[in-house]
């Protein structure tokens, strides 16, 4: 059992996450498109490649690195049987995100976030709830264009976060930010596909390793 958990940590890319996407895929999915110069957040400036006709373009090389780290991390969490919660407050993609979560066997929350969900979980759900081990934000802003409450709550409860940050978002409290577009349907479908593939791959590998261990 110990070997099962320590073995993946020795490899830098145990789940071969790098093969899932290329820079061309990111470009075709319009991940590099940001908002206009006026919406730019100060802390997103290091991630921006440049500005054309007032529209910010996100640096896809940095996005590649961040995406690899994030996908690797989610794969490790899924391998260890952790609870993953997909969060997004975009009404367009609410159905898509929920279907992705259901396909992975993980959980989703694309509705109104009640205040004490993470911080007051014992009272809201019942004693002995297990909180999510990873939060994945497909969009870090809520419907009023302010940072989602869940980022702050996850930081309070020591839950790691992975989030797609657009040029108008604050990447501060997110553990694994992924600078990229969160508004186009193509980009969001691409992210959903990537997360779904990593999680399913990690779970399959876990089942294989357990089967091999049992055979011994």
């Amino acid at each position: 059992d110990d070997k099962l958990l320590t073995e993946p940590l020795s490899h830098p890319d145990f789940f071969s996450v790098k093969e899932l996407f290329t820079l061309k895929d990111l470009f075709d999915a319009r991940v590099h498109l940001g908002h206009k110069k006026g919406c730019r957040h100060r802390f997103m400036e290091p991630y921006i490649f440049g500005c054309r006709l007032d529209q910010d373009i996100i640096d896809l090389d940095q996005t590649m690195q961040h995406l690899q780290l994030a996908l690797n991390f989610t794969a490790h969490v899924a391998y260890r049987g952790g609870i993953i919660l997909f969060v997004s407050r975009k009404r367009q993609f609410c159905h898509l995100v929920e279907s992705t979560a259901r396909a992975c066997g993980e959980y989703a929350h694309t509705r109104y976030w009640q205040g004490g969900l993470l911080t007051n979980a014992n009272v809201q759900f019942g004693p002995g709830v297990r909180l999510p081990d990873l939060l994945i934000f497909l969009s870090t802003l809520n419907n009023v264009f302010e940072p989602h409450v869940a980022i702050r709550d996850a930081a309070k409860m020591n839950i790691p976060t992975v989030g797609v940050v657009d040029t108008n978002c604050n990447p501060c409290l997110i553990t694994y930010p992924i600078p990229g577009n969160d508004d186009s349907p193509a980009a969001v479908e691409f992210y959903c596909k990537l997360f779904r593939m990593t999680i399913i791959r990690a779970k399959d590998k876990r089942r294989q390793s357990e089967a091999i261990e049992e055979l011994r």
Binding site: G81, E98, A108
Partner: protein
């Protein structure tokens, strides 16, 4: 360093309200069911009946016999029912041994409501996709008119019962809006089965009204009887066909019995409504009440009698006009401490 945590006596007391409404564990309900079955056998033994074939009706009769109660409210009297009827249905624990919740929307808080919204939205997308396919193939879009008058959506309370969790007014209205949107699309017939889960038939009121068939006299004249009441007056009316519009009350002509115009207008109203003033004869008997009450009673009786002469549509019109409804107003009782039903005694400042 030592940390002294001092709690006051108030904090040491158990906060009864914090744990929420009483939660019944599975073991508790099982025990209650066992006790109920045992008690049922004891009761059958006491009544001298066979314990094996002792039904719920027998239990109710036995309890009513052994514990007679004069209380007005039926639900306040002693009763012995199966625990599943007594204890409200509650949700069991939502997560498995490893802590992972069963439902994928568990962390939203309102999992059944949001999963319902998710499913309904999926049906909407399906219908839109189907519509696009039909347009691409240039096929005509079916439009069978759904009977809107005969059905209604589930009420908020019924939805709460279905989902086993509280639904707020906003959530309920959003759900109904989504359903309306789904129904409004042209190809919604595909999801008809799903929609029927949330719509209920409204029984047409007219079916409760019983229309008597026409009876025939010795001379071959058609007639029909009706009964009516208003306040304390009771009336029976016999309406004859091929008449001149003559009305007799208790053997006395209507002009002599009801000198006031208002009462005679009340009698004429059903006939005037159907446009049959000079075509029918009427003989009625009335007792009790005052002049206005007797007039109202005869009006109801004659309307009921006329409904057998007339088509069903016109009966529906009469019902909507209020001619066939019994007027429920009666004299309100006087209360102690007051001079009349509503009037209080004169208030004196000193």
């Amino acid at each position: 360093t030592l940390r002294l945590i001092c709690t006051t006596t108030a904090a040491q007391r158990k906060n009864v309200g914090a744990s929420g409404p009483e939660k019944y564990t599975e073991a508790f309900i099982k025990k209650q069911i066992e006790e109920f079955n045992l008690g049922k056998r004891h009761l059958a033994n006491m009544m001298g009946e066979d314990p094996e074939t002792f039904t719920q009706e027998d239990i109710d009769r036995a309890i009513a016999y052994l514990f007679p109660s004069g209380l007005f409210d039926k639900q306040a009297r002693p009763m012995m029912k199966h625990p599943t009827e007594v204890f409200p249905e509650q949700r069991k624990v939502q997560w498995g041994e490893d802590g992972r919740p069963f439902h994928f929307l568990f962390y939203t808080g309102k999992q059944s409501y949001y999963s319902l919204m998710h499913e309904t939205y999926e049906k909407l997308l399906n219908v839109q996709k189907h519509q696009d396919q039909m347009i691409a193939q240039d096929l005509p879009l079916q439009k069978e008119k759904r009977n809107l008058a005969g059905s209604r959506w589930l009420t908020k309370i019924e939805l709460e019962e279905m989902l086993l969790e509280k639904v707020s007014d906003d959530d309920y209205s959003r759900f109904i809006q989504l359903l309306e949107k789904l129904v409004a699309l042209p190809c919604a017939d595909i999801e008809e089965k799903y929609i029927q889960k949330f719509s209920k038939e409204v029984p047409v009121q007219l079916q409760k009204v019983v229309i008597e068939p026409l009876q025939y006299d010795e001379r071959g004249v058609a007639f029909s009887t009706g009964e009516g009441k208003r306040k304390t007056a009771r009336a029976t009316a016999v309406v004859y066909d091929n008449g001149t519009g003559k009305v007799t009350v208790n053997g006395i002509d209507v002009l002599h019995y009801f000198p006031v115009l208002q009462d005679r207008e009340q009698l004429l109203f059903p006939f005037q409504f159907l446009g049959r003033i000079g075509k029918h004869d009427m003989v009625c008997t009335v007792s009790g009440g005052g002049r206005s009450a007797q007039a109202g009673a005869i009006r109801l009786a004659s309307a009921r009698a006329l409904s057998s002469f007339v088509t069903e549509k016109e009966v529906e019109f009469m019902r909507q006009a209020g001619l066939l409804t019994v007027d429920p107003r009666v004299k309100e009782r006087k209360k102690p401490g007051q001079e009349g039903p509503r009037r209080k005694f004169t208030w004196k400042k000193r």
